[in-house]
């Protein structure tokens, strides 16, 4: 299978007053064309930074980026800001958790959707508005004519996220980065937005990277999953494989700790004690060792290397689940 996005040994360091902060390190993943890849992990594990780096963003003076990212034949890591920007729209697009911060509060929805169409596709004002209305229909917004004329604050959170999706798909991108797109929404609206994204991916042949902290959202909406911990992708596998046959103790602990709707009520939850290691001082050894119930001596002194099963299942653990000690 050909890769749409190929990430090799990606690392991101931020210079901070307290020293160098290693937000992402040693990420190696291939995203095949036409797939949906989930990225899960605790807050601060590096999901957003990894995605921004994979999009060729993050070029500030306090950022050190290492490794390579190749998107659709373009090596983003060797491109200038301007060249990367030209890839946006028809190459890549993104949506976020809080559409309110991405939308301009004082401009009407119609002009905000039209803007990209006029700048990127050179459409006239009139054509862009007609197309904007079609896009609102595509994201199933009832009464699109009225919505074109409204301001963001007049819309509900779910409607605003639909507008963001309309803007993102306006130029038919090959890859959509969705960073916690439904975290701020109610479950019934979340289900609608996830269904919309599934349908759009199918219709537009679009790949997706879906960042979420919700393993339920991952299970129903992705083909592959990357589990992040302390800046690393610690496990990467097809979604069905990951749930059926996980190798990483961290993935197992994460799955066990979430309350589930089909558990008996009143059952005590299992807990991952402690928290993520300090990102300015990752230490030697496995970052999960102080919290891991399988940890051995070696885990505290040697950083686990990336392992690969014959079927391509990746993980970073000295003592993976399912292997005799």
């Amino acid at each position: 299978m050909s890769s749409l996005l190929s990430i090799k040994n990606l690392g991101v360091n931020f210079d901070t007053p307290r020293g160098s902060l290693e937000a992402v390190r040693g990420v190696d993943i291939e995203i095949p064309a036409g797939t949906s890849v989930g990225v899960v992990g605790e807050s601060g594990s590096g999901k957003t930074v990894m995605c921004r780096a994979a999009m060729g963003l993050l070029q500030g003076s306090n950022v050190q980026r290492t490794g390579t990212v190749v998107f659709d034949g373009n090596e983003l890591t060797a491109m200038t800001k301007e060249q990367v920007r030209d890839l946006f729209g028809s190459g890549m697009a993104m949506i976020f958790q809080d559409p309110m911060t991405a939308l301009n509060p004082v401009r009407r929805i119609g002009s905000q959707i039209s803007e990209g169409l006029r700048v990127r596709l050179g459409m006239s004002k009139k054509d862009a508005l007609v197309r904007s209305k079609e896009l609102l229909e595509l994201v199933r917004i009832p009464n699109p004519t009225a919505v074109l004329k409204s301001f963001p604050y007049q819309l509900s959170g779910g409607m605003r996220q639909r507008v963001m999706i309309a803007i993102a798909i306006a130029c038919n991108p090959k890859l959509l980065f969705a960073d916690e797109p439904t975290t701020a929404l109610d479950v019934t609206v979340q289900a609608q937005i996830l269904q919309l994204l599934r349908e759009l991916r199918e219709d537009l042949k679009m790949s997706m990277v879906l960042v979420t902290h919700d393993l339920g959202v991952v299970a129903g909406n992705t083909d592959y999953v990357a589990v992040m911990y302390a800046g690393e992708v610690v496990e990467y596998a097809p979604t069905t494989k990951l749930f059926a046959d996980m190798r990483m103790p961290y993935t197992e602990a994460l799955l066990e700790s979430i309350p589930k709707i089909d558990h008996k009520s009143g059952t005590r939850l299992s807990v991952i004690a402690g928290r993520l290691p300090n990102p300015t001082d990752r230490g030697v050894g496995c970052g999960f060792a102080p919290r891991c119930k399988y940890a051995q001596e070696k885990c505290h002194t040697q950083h686990p290397e990336l392992q690969k099963d014959p079927d391509g299942h990746l993980y970073r653990c000295w003592f993976p689940i399912g292997e005799a000690l």
Binding site: D186, V187, A191, S257, P259, V271, R275
Partner: protein, 329 residues
């Protein structure tokens, strides 16, 4: 009666909190009124955890605040430990509130950043004159140990130096300082990471067992609710749809809205994805709620009767009450 019925009221001698026909409305302009909570009745018995679930804007926070009289409701009764808080003079209300404490969603901003942990927990103890300085210090240490914090490590630090989970532990210690009978938790784990959520939920459960607390637990997360509740109340646009034990409610929901909510919860198992009819649209404005059953504009089972008559709560199986003209059987 304007409410949604009272068949589910147990009128028990063990009732710690009884809410009757509670209504809260916010006047937002000359002719606009938000009907946030409309004629709600329920009771919570000693040692019980009542969970309140529903989508954002359905009135959960308004209900919690009205129970604490912050602000007092427009009408209705809030009987706590046998006293109607709505008719209590200010001074008595302050002391009644000491035995009813609230935990908020945003643990970091609910703690004063200028105060040390020591001061935060001492404040209620000092105001209510609970013991000498030494006795209070001892109490603070015990409380911090109870919530899993090491007193020496945290006493002199301030809220911004802690993570969300640690701040929620501090909030819980502070809420427990005056030995309350009841805790009202408004989305206590919604702002926390999955791995921290479980720690806080277990802690709340431990505190409840240890101190015999009665709880109202507000959440939009049905899986969290199932883990902690003895009774679940589902709300929609300021009204009760269904109230039942978690066993009944999750295995055979009788209200169409309860079923839709349950069907929307993502399942963390790729082999068990269900294909269901999704609920369309979003809740209508609470300024102008639909006549009859407030859910009817999104309900696929709605009939003419649903627009004309408001459904009253009725028992459909032992302990399971539903306000619907055509309940799921």
């Amino acid at each position: 009666m304007a409410g949604s019925g009272t068949a589910h009221m147990r009128n028990s001698v063990d009732s710690v909190l009884t809410v009757r026909d509670l209504t809260v409305e916010f006047k937002i302009s000359k002719d606009k009124v938000v009907k946030a909570v409309s004629g709600l009745s329920f009771d919570v018995v000693k040692g019980e955890t009542l969970a309140v679930v529903g989508e954002s804007g359905c009135g959960k926070t308004t209900l919690a605040r009205a129970i604490l009289q912050l602000p007092p409701p427009n009408s209705g009764e809030v009987i706590f430990n046998g006293t109607d808080l709505t008719s209590l003079p200010k001074e008595n209300l302050r002391s009644a509130r000491t035995s009813m404490q609230m935990i908020f969603q945003d643990p970091i901003s609910s703690l004063d950043p200028r105060m040390t942990v020591q001061q935060l927990i001492d404040e209620p103890l000092e105001i209510w004159g609970r013991g000498t300085r030494e006795e209070r210090n001892e109490r603070i240490n015990t409380l911090l140990n109870n919530v899993g914090l090491e007193p020496e490590l945290v006493l002199n630090r301030r809220s911004y130096e802690f993570s969300g989970g640690q701040c929620q532990r501090i909030s819980i210690a502070r809420a427990l300082a005056l030995d309350p009978r009841m805790l009202i938790c408004d989305e206590p784990v919604s702002a926390l990471d999955v791995s921290i959520q479980a720690q806080i939920l277990n802690l709340l459960q431990d505190m409840k067992d240890q101190f015999g607390l009665t709880m109202v637990f507000i959440s939009h997360d049905l899986a969290v609710v199932k883990a902690v509740s003895d009774r679940v109340m589902v709300m929609y646009l300021g009204k009760i749809c269904e109230i039942a034990t978690p066993e009944a409610l999750y295995s055979k929901p009788a209200h169409h809205y309860t079923k839709a909510l349950l069907d929307s919860v993502p399942i963390a198992d790729p082999t068990r994805q269900k294909i269901t009819e999704l609920l369309q649209g979003e809740p209508p404005s609470p300024m102008n709620p639909p006549s009859g059953c407030r859910f009817r504009t999104r309900c696929h089972a709605a009939t003419a009767r649903c627009a004309e008559h408001e459904p009253q709560l009725q028992e459909v199986s032992p302990g399971q009450f539903v306000a619907c003209h055509h309940p799921i059987v």
